[in-house]
Symmetry: C2
Subunit: 180 residues, 2 copies
């Protein structure tokens, strides 16, 4: 009983990463409409990696879609593989780190008015460097270890503006007993 | 010095809400590629409305794009208008509430690997009902007032899965001194 009816669907655009599906629908208010849904082909993983000194590992990168530099938790596409394996691979590729302890914190939807984009958040602890791993991957320009109070200040002051990073930090803050 | 070059652009799809722009680019690694960017026409506003009893106002609705019911903070499009006015209007339309105190908490980007989607988060306090306002708007099926500890439990247990809601809650938790 969603109130929506779908009468037909076409692929309006697709590339390697996204498909835009345009549905002919009847809305709950009875009006006929077109609904364009952006489907991400693969789920994304976000890793809040926390050091033994209670610092969060953040990466600096440039985001072409927004045209801005961004400070974020390590993240990436799952490429359809097992989510934990994807999280481990992306953390290693983006930061040169591996973790001895992994916890799945939650799964969320991004931009759900327009997109079907599945996102999974992990907490990574017991961090150590991967031998021989270079960190030149994927446009990452810096890797930082930032104490929690400073991370929260960066959110408050607009130095971290990636919504998935901010959401991931709340999951981790809850898990780590930092919010209540 | 972003490392990216854009050689051309075409509109691959558009509707009332989004434009998909496909750029011909040279990536930082020197490879030629196509980059599809989903541009949201209008910025979105998210309102963390907190009662005098320290409850958060949440709405229940169905999200067509994900095909799921969702519990979220009130939100909506700015329709290009002043952001605070948009926040006030959306809060009123979705919950029947107005607020005596508004604070702009931050501005973020959603799904920035693929989208150019600007989002602004507000904290609304000193809430009171708007006389005569009906809450039948925009597919909202329920409005709840949920104490903060219960809101955090809902995030942890997967009952709140909207990434923008989760991010908005962290902004509010920081502003209200609930996290540190």
């Amino acid at each position: 009983m969603t109130g929506w009816q779908t009468h037909g669907s076409r692929t309006a655009y697709e590339n390697e990463w996204i498909t835009v599906r345009e549905d002919r629908v009847t809305r709950p208010d009875g009006a006929a409409a077109l609904y364009g849904v952006v489907e991400l082909r693969n789920a994304a993983v976000f890793m809040v990696a926390v050091t033994d000194a209670d610092e969060v590992v953040l990466v600096d990168l440039f985001r072409y879609a927004t045209g801005t530099a961004s400070v974020e938790v390590p993240a990436g596409g799952s490429d359809g593989e097992d989510l934990l394996l994807a999280a481990q691979r992306e953390l290693r590729e983006e930061t040169g780190l591996q973790a001895g302890r992994w916890d799945a914190l939650g799964s969320m939807w991004a931009l759900n008015g327009v997109c079907r984009a599945r996102e999974h958040v992990f907490l990574a602890r017991d961090l150590r460097p991967v031998a021989g791993e270079a960190m030149a991957e994927e446009g990452i320009t810096a890797v930082r270890r930032v104490p929690w109070p400073e991370v929260l200040r960066m959110v408050r002051d607009g130095e971290i503006v990636d919504s998935e990073t901010i959401a991931s930090l709340l999951y981790a803050a809850i898990e780590l007993g930092k919010v209540g």
